[in-house]
Symmetry: C2
Subunit: 644 residues, 2 copies
Amino acid sequence: MHRGAFTAISFLLGALTSMASGYLGMKVAVFSNVRTTVSAQKPGWTACFNTAFRAGAVMGFALCGLGIIMLYVTMLAYRVHYPSPDQWVHLTECITGYGLGGSVIAMFGRVGGGIYTKAADVGADLVGKVVHGIPEDDPRNPATIADNVGDNVGDVAGMGSDLFGSFAESTCAALVIGSSIGVTGGWDAMVFPVIVSAVGIFVCLLSSFIATDLKTVKAENEVESALKIQLIATTILMVPAVYFVSIVYLPSSFDLQATVGDAVFTLHPWEATTCVAMGTVGGLIIGLVTEYYTSHSYSPVREVANSCKTGAATNMIYGIALGYKSAIIPVLVLSVVVYGSFTMCDMYGVALAAIGFLANLATGLTIDVYGPVCDNAGGIAEMAELDPSVREKTDALDAAGNTTAAIGKGFAIGSAALVSLALFGAFVTRIRHASNDALFANGVNMLEPLTFAFLIIGGMIPFAFAAMTMKSVGLAAMEMVMEVQRQFDEKPHLLDANPTERPDYDACIAISTKASLKEMVPPGAMVIFTPLLTGIFFGVTAVSGLLVGALVASVQLAISMSNSGGAWDNAKKYIEKQSPDSELKGKGSDIHKAAVVGDTVGDPFKDTSGPALNIVMKLMAVLSLVFADTFFAVNGGGGVFNLS
Amino acid sequence: MHRGAFTAISFLLGALTSMASGYLGMKVAVFSNVRTTVSAQKPGWTACFNTAFRAGAVMGFALCGLGIIMLYVTMLAYRVHYPSPDQWVHLTECITGYGLGGSVIAMFGRVGGGIYTKAADVGADLVGKVVHGIPEDDPRNPATIADNVGDNVGDVAGMGSDLFGSFAESTCAALVIGSSIGVTGGWDAMVFPVIVSAVGIFVCLLSSFIATDLKTVKAENEVESALKIQLIATTILMVPAVYFVSIVYLPSSFDLQATVGDAVFTLHPWEATTCVAMGTVGGLIIGLVTEYYTSHSYSPVREVANSCKTGAATNMIYGIALGYKSAIIPVLVLSVVVYGSFTMCDMYGVALAAIGFLANLATGLTIDVYGPVCDNAGGIAEMAELDPSVREKTDALDAAGNTTAAIGKGFAIGSAALVSLALFGAFVTRIRHASNDALFANGVNMLEPLTFAFLIIGGMIPFAFAAMTMKSVGLAAMEMVMEVQRQFDEKPHLLDANPTERPDYDACIAISTKASLKEMVPPGAMVIFTPLLTGIFFGVTAVSGLLVGALVASVQLAISMSNSGGAWDNAKKYIEKQSPDSELKGKGSDIHKAAVVGDTVGDPFKDTSGPALNIVMKLMAVLSLVFADTFFAVNGGGGVFNLS
């Protein structure tokens, strides 16, 4: 009874913190947008870069700090009820609600926000650029304001709650798996995962001074390297920092029960550090590979740009192929991290590696928020009809942010995969204990008919989810186009050089808002109810197949979709930078039009469906863990149908 | 020693039969193309439909018959060496080489053929339609002949060897898994899977008279239903036919050792029949769902067509989403068949269900060959400048073939998934016996670090494969466009109404030939070497993860890619049928141009990458099975690295 109530409280706290983070991010972004525009009017690059970067940092550090404080305070409060170390297993079980709360909000934030922003973005692009040939962010386009609002809703609030969800879940997974450490190692050892995240904040804080004070940005070409240095520096500094706290907080050796079989792992601080480090370094490698495939400084994106010469169709073929191919190295890195951390410290190692992936979350978030702030600063410059040099400046800042944000996505995807695996491990352990080793004692057999059947079904969920979210964006974008078209038709003077009529921005905002609220429900419901119904009707062997199938397919699809989208975006930007008499003809040419098609398709790929797939796998896993006891209560884990 | 030699001989025979089937198909198609054109000039529909349909039937029945005779004769020959029933396990092991041989050729046939035909098709479309606005199959387009040759190479020869591979593999899988039945049930019981396939031929033969004689095609709207009746009739007739032979050939009860654990299944003829029937009926359901998602008679394709109103980008988004979504019901059907057949007759049931999916192979092949024959008949009509009514007739025949071929794809995909699972089961059994129950006795644990790491890697293979093959098509198509452009530039009178110059068809054919031969090597090598190297270096637990991961991802991707491609193709055809003053504006409009982009992207989706993924999963599984003993020989299945 207590446990249920405590889990529910954790859930509410997680959900509230997630919402608070998103709200905070939007507030900061809105305040900083115009300031960045103003500082971009000053000479030099330092002022405007620092304004935008610091805006991102407010969000990054506030979110991480808030998340850790809430989590730790909740744990301390629950400790009053569960004072003795052998009760801490229950304490951590109640804490998983915090991760679940964060994830559920993350799901709706990411999907809803993604639909909102991309409906506006795609709609504005289709009408503005394709049909009427007016520039981006032109105030005469009625969808412009919706597009700008969308940047805040989707790219700041949605992304913030997404990453908060990742952080909360990975920490909770590590806590629940490592709860038995408390018995021999005490409270300090048990809360080690929280400490690692906390150390991450300090490391990020330290390295943020590199960008703002030590090695300030003085020229356009320094922007991207400044952001990249941030990520690399935090990764390098993390390893000794984690080793230091592992010696302080962890006992010199501690025991851990294996998930499968009866083996007991005897672990030491260096092994825990290695697992965290594998995650951090693995994340950086995945990030750099992502950058290679999505930045127009390298050959893959240039190949995509070249393929536009023969039209939109070859652009599509090349872009999709690039996305699929870009998953090869990240998947290999992931499998090395899985194998390494799993062999070294069992599921605890996997959970620590997941935390390692997110150790530089504060920096990642800083850069992620920095991007939309610069983007909107450019929009304000355009609408306020400032000198074009201001817009050029914010565009350059934004472009560097796009590339570096791609690196950040590497960390998020790696973390999501490992968190899901760790949560699945925790689920198996929970069922194993509940059934007194009658279930899962020898692991999870794939050659069980029910498991295999659900393995295929699990593999289908991410595809169905991507289909639903993509189509929502397409549908809402088409509505947006119709609305804008209607306004152009009804107000013929809207497009004059000095328009005498004002577009109805609110109508467009209403379309995005309505679409996002309505359309986020079906995919969200599918992700939430599939594991619940599977567990209740088909039992725990079915759930294990479902989770693993969803994990395998989500990883591939998430990486592919994000990178295809990023590559199309940057291929378009690459073509825009070419002069009209070069081979790629530059802006406004047929080649550019073909590239715009790719960019438009890529929008829901990279900002709605792709990143939301991270949440799909995690949310399904954490739900199964939280409801493990419920599943077990139905026919001893056999489910209502009690199929063998 | 003997076993190695026998396996090698089977391999060669399988490969030769596959090549012979492809060659035969091309010969028949080439002979029948022009005859179909000639009979299309006659009044009425019966003559031309029957000509094309019978051409397909020649290929369908020849291929199935040849496959079964070769297989059965080989088995009889080997029986001389392995006379006693307890040696038949070795006999069936040697026979797996036949399946492997068929698959390897199928892989290269499908990939090479797919690249050949789509390079020519996409290239011809891009230049002909998009750049110069000349109609399809216009003899002034230098790529036209390459396109027609490609239809024979890819859609007839490539597809024929693909389906021969499916047939050979599913039969071999059932033989190897059911080999122990021979001990109690004798030769007749053991060869039951071959008998089922043989019965399928007779059932298909019987029902083929419905189309050609009993209920002949008399009007345009009867074409599609005539073809559909073929598939439904064979499915319905198969069930009693299989039940009849199961009573005749199988003993009234027989024992089968379970793959996992020590259970022994006591089976009866009705259970074997049920497994076959589940496959046949499941295949039909998947086929009908495929038709629903790819025919323009239903709402999904019309939605895609409508999305073209806002341009190519929304068309792409809708088409991809449709493909992803179209996998939901097929996957559910597959998982029901997996669960049902697996629980009922263990892996033997799965293998029988896989044969059930392919029981109407002869009919499926007939329809599959019928399509390209009509397509090329239309091309000949265009080039011979016959009356436009001839072309309209062949186009109608072709369109019906496209839709019905989509139903056939359902059978192929279902069969591939189940064959792969059955082969994986056989692999596990083989390793289990070789290790005297030290390995896999309790099944295959997914929570083994190495297995899980390779599960993710396995999931990546289909994506990498799709990327490679798609890009090959894109690359070759771009070369083709350049070549055609060069010819248009150098011979300015090529496009005159009465051209005084002849295009250089050979140069275009050479591009397709060279591209297909060169580009099929890397993806083929990846699929062949990945399981071999995994088994040798990382051992059998790694292989099991790899195979299952590849299976899960391949199923989703194969269904999605095939259906997206089919939907785009038919959305374009739907728009072409509209009048210029209707909402969709019809041929030549901007809406139509947006639809052409989708169709062009869909070409490699549905005819190169998508269907080849069926072979990817099967080939990896059969290779692992054939080399199981080799893998076990390296450190007792631990591989060179001997990781735990």
